[in-house]
């Protein structure tokens, strides 16, 4: 056994390696001062988009740790049009994730069919009390602001079906537009070549209201299944196909019902979707009241917004009624240009929206429910908002994402204003 060898080259080399590192920049990340740069796929915390949740309980059932708690009740929605049938839907009462049990496997996010659950890279929610790791719906909704855009896929990857579909659809649409020799202004409004721009193709047909988007077109479904598409994709496409067909049918009926475009034409529509209401503004009165009641600011803002939309719609409808129905021919286009009231998007957009976020689409921004006005360059942020939030002590990521959203809102407002002027 070699006990000691005279100190040789090996010993000197060791000294060399260490002294070399003495003059290198340390690899240390000064964590609380220097934020870690986490990739968008990081499994940090689970965010909930509660508007998307249909209380299907898939996440809760699939969770290996059973750490998701969901409560809901059924609510009857009055028929959307007279003579229609009333529908029931599930209303989410409670959605809680116990992060002291969660093993961060991501199965819930993966199985959610309506993209209500998202991963966010935020990780600083450690608590001294284990009970506080139970994040309720509000808290989970707040994480939603920090969800980054999913990254683009590496070269050679197959684009997700939703993206290819959307591109094909868009192309078809553009062709149709070219054929019809539409006005340049109308064309400029339409988003260009943007993948999965939900609602992009919808406005032209929005005048026909289609009920019950739950049905699917069996023929399409079978065909797609035979082509080897996954069941989910097939279902969503078949659903869309059904809606398309149904619209076709309704329009044909309308045309058959008579050529007069004014009076009767407006009758089957519940009008709500057609009245131009500028979203983004809030009803100050409602807002103040809710704040006084101690609601969270976000909640108050959302409700006030809804209130504003309601009021505005009522006002406009009244005006319309007064002015007669002469404007109805223009309305579809107008509806396309303006952010429609949120609930109007429900059925039609659902089909698009639903497919659009199988965890890997190329969509640059987390889906927005209504994206009627396309805003280029979502990378910019609203400096004012950003500074304000930073001053309030929010984390940079949250501030950035909110500021981004603020910028988009402002930009949309601006575009809308411009559009209105034109």
């Amino acid at each position: 056994m070699a006990t000691t060898s005279p100190p040789g080259v090996g010993l000197l080399k060791g000294l060399g390696v260490t002294i070399k590192h003495l003059f290198k920049q340390p690899a240390t990340q000064m964590y609380p001062k220097q934020r870690p740069d986490l990739p968008p796929r990081t499994r940090g915390v689970i965010a909930l988009m509660d508007e998307n949740c249909t209380v299907c309980m898939l996440c809760s059932r699939e969770c290996p740790d059973w750490c998701i708690y969901i409560d809901s009740h059924k609510e009857t929605v009055p028929p959307a049009k007279e003579g229609g049938r009333a529908r029931t839907r599930n209303v989410l009462d409670r959605f809680a994730i116990d992060f002291s049990l969660c093993m961060y496997c991501g199965i819930c996010v993966e199985v959610c069919p309506f993209d209500a659950l998202w991963w966010s890279p935020e990780f600083e929610y450690a608590e001294y009390d284990m009970g506080k790791l139970l994040h309720e719906k509000d808290k989970l909704r707040e994480w939603m602001d920090t969800v980054p855009a999913p990254p683009m896929l590496e070269e050679g990857a197959v684009a997700p079906a939703e993206v290819t579909d959307a591109i094909a659809k868009k192309e078809k649409e553009l062709e149709a537009e070219a054929e019809k020799q539409r006005e340049a202004s109308a064309a400029a409004e339409a988003p260009k070549g943007k993948a999965a721009d939900s609602g992009g193709g919808a406005p032209k047909k929005a005048d026909v209201e289609v009920k019950g988007a739950g049905e699917i077109d069996q023929e399409t479904f079978d065909k797609l299944i035979a082509e080897g598409k996954s069941e989910r994709i097939a279902r969503s496409k078949a659903k869309a196909a059904w809606v398309r067909k149904e619209k076709e049918r309704l329009r044909a009926e309308q045309e058959a019902a008579g050529g007069d475009e004014d009076g009767d034409d407006a009758a089957p529509k519940p009008q709500a979707a057609k009245v131009e209401v500028e979203a983004g503004q809030i009803d100050q009165e409602t807002y103040d009241k809710l704040i006084e009641e101690g609601k969270s600011e976000r909640m108050a803002r959302a409700k006030a917004k809804a209130a504003y939309v309601r009021k505005e719609r009522a006002r406009l409808t009244a005006e319309q009624d007064g002015a007669g129905s002469d404007g109805s021919a223009d309305e579809p286009e107008a509806a396309a240009a303006e952010p429609a009231a949120e609930d109007a998007a429900a059925d039609d957009a659902a089909a698009d929206d639903e497919g659009a976020d199988e965890a890997g689409d190329d969509e640059p921004a987390p889906k927005q429910k209504v994206a009627d006005v396309h805003v280029e360059g979502t990378g910019e942020i609203d400096q004012e908002t950003f500074d304000k939030l930073i001053a309030e002590g929010k984390s940079e990521r949250i501030a950035r994402s909110k500021a981004k959203a603020a910028w988009v809102r402002k930009e949309k407002q601006r575009l809308i204003d411009e559009g209105g002027d034109a």
Binding site: G10, G14, P40, R41, L153, E154, V158
Partner: protein
């Protein structure tokens, strides 16, 4: 201890200083008592809750009894109550240093039972991540083995490298240790844009940095004095205990299922298996370092081969393995990992038996520890690479 002092007496025949023999001999001129020393379950050298009871005569070990099971979590039983998607998130936790390779084993087993065609791109990406995972694992052991011999610095360098690799893998999988990136039939999602570029950059960086480990540890005379000839493991003994991985390669047996029974696309790349000659601690360590270089070579080849195409195949709503059984073995970073998957056609396996490399490797420890000194015992423990979670499961 009082017992020890009463029994100790100097042999009358020997005058002090007559024989300067510094070897501490058990059957020498002193009548001594044996002392049993319990190393672990919480001891720095066992990195985990592994316990080993040493019977010692002075500083010489005369017997060693590993005690395992402190970390038994019932993985095999748990797996019987998990569907395959959940099992993916489960198995990357028994050997937490090779999460991806563990998932891979289960995924391959399920695919084999379903006779599923896995897209080419998915297989290449799996190989890429698995090799990065292997480097990640080996770096950890390089650091910990050095620290067991008293060299504190390599640990920090190794963790710096690990951090870079983990960041890379996190950008694709979302996880740093528990990747959960596999699913039966492929991967959950394709790599993010720029991954292959980053991977190539990191490869170049690591190639620049690995010589540091050789200079700092492998070439160091003190290190050689501490490890050469310590705990030699003859090939036949290694095979009889079922030792695999770098510990086996050090004994000169080139058994590596990437070569002998290629899975994924390992038959399309050159896999170099570094071999040792004496099977001592030094060889085990140099095999480990050599495997990092070998993995870097494989990654380079994968970069050149990466095909385009889908990464997953369509799955039914609930993956159910058909009735039957299969055994899949993969070359995990620490050795051969085998999954015996038996299904009754339900949504969960009827039985999932794990053959983990760490469990087999520690079987050789009593053999290796016979007659060594305590410092050498640590050198042996550190060079028979094991993860406690992988032993106890």
């Amino acid at each position: 201890m009082s017992d020890l002092s009463t029994r100790e007496r100097i042999h009358p025949g020997t005058a002090p200083g007559e024989d300067i023999n510094l070897e501490i001999l058990g059957d020498g001129d002193f009548d001594t008592a044996e002392m049993s020393l319990s190393i672990g379950p919480a001891h720095p050298a066992t990195h985990g809750v592994f316990r080993i009871v040493l019977d010692m005569d002075g500083e010489r070990v005369v017997g060693a009894r590993p005690v395992i099971g402190y970390m038994h979590r019932g993985f095999e039983k748990l797996a019987e109550y998990r569907d395959f998607r959940q099992i993916m998130a489960l198995v990357n936790r028994h050997d937490w240093l090779s999460g991806f390779s563990n998932e891979l084993g289960v995924a391959l087993a399920v695919e084999q039972m379903l006779e599923m065609e896995v897209p080419d791109r998915a297989q290449w990406i799996r190989m890429l991540i698995a090799e990065w995972n292997r480097i990640l694992n080996h770096l950890m052991f390089i650091g910990s083995f050095a620290i067991e011999l008293g060299a504190i610095t390599p640990m920090f360098y190794a963790f710096r490298e690990r951090e870079d690799i983990q960041h890379l893998l996190e950008s694709a999988t979302g996880g740093r240790l528990h990747f959960t990136y596999n699913q039966p039939g492929g991967l959950k999602i394709d790599l993010p844009k720029g991954f292959l570029h980053q991977s190539a950059d990191l490869l170049a960086l690591l190639r620049k940095r690995t010589p540091d480990y050789k200079d700092l540890i492998l070439g160091n005379e003190i290190f050689q004095a501490r490890t050469k000839g310590v705990g030699p493991l003859p090939p036949e003994v290694a095979l009889s205990y079922g030792v695999t991985g770098p510990t086996l390669h050090a004994s000169g047996v080139p058994e590596d299922s990437r070569v002998t029974e290629p899975y994924l696309k390992y038959d399309e790349v050159d896999v170099h298996v570094p071999l040792g000659e004496n099977g001592d601690s030094f060889d085990r360590f140099s095999c480990l370092l050599g495997r990092i270089d070998a993995s870097l070579d494989i990654i380079e080849q994968i970069h050149d081969h990466m095909p385009a195409g889908p990464v997953n195949s369509k799955l039914p709503k609930m993956v159910k393995a058909p009735e039957g059984a299969t055994y899949v073995r993969t070359e995990n970073p620490l050795g051969q990992l085998g999954y015996w998957l038996e299904s009754d056609g339900g949504r969960t396996p009827w039985r999932l038996k794990m053959r983990t490399p760490s469990f087999s490797n520690v079987q050789a420890i009593p053999y290796l520890l016979g007659g060594v000194l305590v410092p050498d015992a640590v050198a042996v423990l550190g060079s028979v690479f094991f993860v406690v979670g992988d032993i106890d499961r």
